[in-house]
Every structure is written in C-alpha cells, then in structure tokens.
C-alpha cells in the first residue's frame, strides 16, 4: 500500500508539470499517441525479454520523435496524431496476442496495476520523475519562451527545437514510468486533467505547475484510498478523482476571481 502510494505520487510529480506544457502547447493528442505507443513497447519488451520499462521507453521515445519530425509536413497534425495514436494502440494489442507462450495481463497494461508495483518499480518511477522534473526546472525559462512564440524565442537566443526535444524526451520518460500505475489508456489523463484543473487557480505558469502537482498528488492518494474503500479499479479511480477536482476548480473559479 505504501509502495502504491509512492508510485502514484511519483507519477503525479512527473506528469503534472509536463501536463502544463502539454495543454499550453496544445499537445493533448501528442500525449495520447505517445502513451498509446506504450502498448507496442510492452509487446517489444515481452518479445525481447527486456524490462517493460525499457521497452516502453524505447517505443514511446521513437513515437514522440516520429511525431515531432512529421508534424505539419504532409498531413494536418490533428489527422496524423489520430492515425498514429490508434495505429500504435491497435498494432500493440495485435503484437501482444501474437507472442507465443506468453500469458499477459492485458488489462494491467491498459488501465494500470498500481497495487502490483514492486520496490524496484518505485525506485524506477521516482528516478524517472526526478529526471523529468529536473529537465523541466533546468530548461523552464527556455521552455516557456519557446511555448509563447518560436520567433520571439529565436530572437532572444533560445533554441526552440532543442526545447521541443526536451519536452519529447520528458514525455517518453513519463509514459514509461506511468504505465504500471495508470496504464497506457489513462496516462494522457494524468497529464492533462491535473494541469487543466490547476489553470483557474493560477496567475503565473509556476503557480499553475505547483497546483497541478498538488491536484495530481491528491488524485493519486485519494484515488488509491477510494479504490480500497469502494473496491473499484485503481487507475480509473485516480483519474475520476482528478476529473472531480477539475469540475470543482472550474465551478469555483469565479469565486477566486472575485476574491482577488
């Protein structure tokens, strides 16, 4: 139970601030596609006897780089993301079913299995989360600048392509650490929902990221507790609670405004 709580907190710590960039840059679909590719990563890991974490990291990174390279080239990125996102998910499921002699708990990879995390998983999750947070804090100013305007970023000496690459890398790591906790289908939710819930509460990018971490952490712990109390699946419980926070935040936002 403590391991599960730590795992959930680790994922919230990585996903929430990255999620802020995902919604500021309108990359929600990008997050979707990268996390769906995780299933393909699971297939790769099972087929090659790699650890799941490594397989997912490799495939998520490949997917994220592919998307970053292709976007805007020949199809609208919306269509492109839609195609790749579902293609990755479907082909991953097909690939897993084709593996001989492997009995796989597919549901665990799709929706997460936080109660099954080992101490080693927790260490991996926190290492990944620390890496993501470290990258974001290190590049924070440049990332914000590149998010605001590519031209303005170039004119002031920032390299927007490098900043985009850092986000791509952070995304792949987040997907890899989150798959055991919330599963491939709900990783994107952990990116987007806490950040969106934080928006009405914040007046600067930094406070928004902090609120997102708090809301993400509260969702992880509350969802875990709730799944025990009501015997509901843990991953979906966490995401449902995050959605409740979002609804509350949006509904209560006008009061915050008046108080200012």
């Amino acid at each position: 139970m403590i391991r599960a709580a730590l795992a959930g907190l680790g994922v919230a710590l990585a996903a929430a601030p990255l999620g802020c960039f995902v919604i500021w840059r309108r990359m929600a679909y990008f997050g979707d596609a990268t996390s769906h590719a995780a299933i393909l990563g699971v297939a790769l890991a099972l087929a090659t006897d790699l650890p799941i974490f490594a397989g997912v990291l490799v495939v998520a990174l490949a997917m994220a780089l592919l998307l970053a390279g292709l976007s805007g080239r020949w199809v609208s990125s919306d269509a492109l993301l839609g195609v790749l996102s579902h293609a990755a998910l479907a082909s991953g499921l097909v690939a897993i079913s084709l593996l001989d002699g492997v009995r796989v708990d597919l549901e665990g990879y799709l929706f997460g299995e936080i109660l099954a995390v080992t101490t080693r998983d927790v260490v991996l999750i926190w290492t990944g989360a620390a890496l993501v947070c470290g990258l974001l804090i290190w590049r924070w100013q440049g990332l914000l600048m590149a998010t605001l305007s590519v031209d303005l970023a170039v004119a002031s000496g920032t390299k927007p392509r490098r900043e985009a690459l850092i986000l791509t890398l952070a995304m792949a790591v987040t997907v890899a650490v989150a798959i055991k906790v919330v599963g491939a289908l709900l990783i994107a939710a952990m990116l987007v929902i806490p950040a969106a819930a934080a928006r009405p509460l914040a007046r600067t990018p930094e406070t928004m990221a902090l609120w997102a971490v708090l809301i993400g952490a509260a969702s992880a712990l509350g969802g875990l507790g709730g799944s025990f109390a009501f015997d509901t699946p843990t991953g979906p419980s966490i995401v449902t609670l995050a959605a409740v926070f979002f609804a509350l935040s949006v509904a209560l936002a006008p009061m915050f405004r008046r108080a200012e």
Partner: protein, 246 residues
C-alpha cells in the same frame, strides 16, 4: 560597419521563393521602414534577420555582439497559459526590477505589471511587446507590423512612442508597416519590397519612384505631403488612406 546587412539574400516560405537577391544595410540610429504588398516577403526578411528563417542562399551579417529587440506582428498566447505582464517581461532571462521598470515606462505601460497578458487591450499588448524588446537594450529594434489591429490614433501614438525610444535609446529601428502615410513621414529611409527590393531611398524619393507608384498608386504621395503639413494636428488620420495595399 553597419549594424546588420544582407548579401544577395534569397528566402523561401513553404517551399516557394518569396524574396530574391536582397542587399540591404541598416546603419546605427536610423529608422528604416519596409513597405510592400501582402506576400511581398516583408515578414520573411525580418525573420531571416532575427535568425528564425534560414536563407536559401546569400548571407545575413550582423555586427559583433549586436543586440536585437524584436516586436512580432501578433502573439497568440493560449488561454490555458496564465501569464502576468511582469512574468512575461522576465522571459527568457530574469531581468532586474529597475530595468523592467525603465522598459515599461519607456513603452508607456508602467501600470500594468500584475495584469494578465490575456486581459490587455490591443494597444497595451503591443506596448508590452515593445517593452520586452527594449529590455534587451537593443542596438536594433525590429518591428513586424506592430500596429496591426490598432486603430489610427492608436497606431499613431505607438509610432510616436517608437520615435521617443529612438531619441532616448539611440537604437536603429527597422519596421514593416502598412500605415504608409504615418510611417513614411517618420522614417529616414524606406525600402519597397515586392519579391525583391524594387526601390529604396528617403520617403520622398520612394513615394516618387515609378515602381512604388505602380504598387501603391500616386495617392499616398499626396497623403504623405498632407501628413507632413499637418502631422502635429490630431485629426491628420482623417485623411484618405484608401491607397494602401489590399
């Protein structure tokens, strides 16, 4: 040497050549305006000068340690990004409080620090962009149709601010504008673009050039004259402006 110069610069936008063989120089302290119809390569030229667009061929040469302040045409800030004016002015480098104060005062937006960028009016927003450009203490201020979306008195006031800034900070100014009569009167030199540099010189020389008249008609020459006589009069902008590019 010049602050910045281009050598036989050719630029393409989305695979299509928009500007060929451009040789221009900007000298210290001068105000140069680029005019030209839509799609004539004005914005592409500015983007190449700031380094955001790689040339197909030719070169951009900058003076050593040249500091450029860039004011873009517009800036779409996503509604999900909370950002106060003060925070915006501290991007990408944290600036000293006193420097920020000086910049917002020079741009005429000293009172807006704690406001959200999304709550600003069009004129305030452009002035905040100007303040941000001034923070770099630029040798060269580059403005890309910075008064787009402002009404005539608003853009006239904005250009007066630019003049002030040039006077007090001594930076050169390179701007693209559609407000022909206002801008030409305020410029030392005008470059007329249409896929290449079709004419250049003082505002009067350009206004009289056959290439310019072919693009904009003869009316703006008249407007320019009117403006020159009446430019201290508040209602100068009531005069016809129908000869701009469409």
């Amino acid at each position: 040497m010049s602050l910045i110069e281009t050598e036989n610069l050719t630029l393409a936008y989305r695979g299509k050549t928009v500007l060929r063989g451009v040789n221009i120089k900007i000298e210290r302290g001068e105000i140069v305006t680029i005019v030209g119809p839509n799609g004539s390569g004005k914005s592409s030229l500015l983007r190449a000068l700031i380094g955001a667009l790689a040339p197909v061929s030719g070169k951009v040469r900058r003076a050593p340690r040249l500091r450029i302040g860039y004011v873009p045409q517009t800036l779409m800030i996503d509604g999900t990004l909370p950002l106060t004016v003060w925070r915006f002015l501290n991007l990408p480098g944290r600036a000293h409080r006193a420097d920020v104060q000086a910049a917002v005062e020079a741009a005429g937006v000293a009172q807006l620090g704690s406001q959200q960028m999304s709550e600003l009016s069009g004129g305030q927003f452009q002035r905040v962009l100007l303040a941000r450009a001034l923070l770099a203490q630029p040798d060269l201020l580059i403005l890309d149709e910075a008064t787009q979306g402002l009404d005539q008195p608003g853009s006239a006031a904005f250009y007066r601010q630019i003049e002030d800034v040039r006077q007090t900070q001594g930076c050169a100014v390179l701007m693209v504008s559609h407000d022909l009569h206002v801008v030409m009167a305020a410029s030392d030199r005008v470059l007329c673009l249409n896929g290449h540099v079709c004419c250049e010189g003082t505002p009067q020389v350009v206004a009289d050039a056959p290439e310019y008249r072919a693009l904009f008609g003869t009316g703006t020459g008249g407007t320019l004259a009117l403006y020159r006589h009446e430019h201290d009069h508040d209602h100068a902008h009531d005069h016809e402006t129908g000869h701009g590019p469409h």
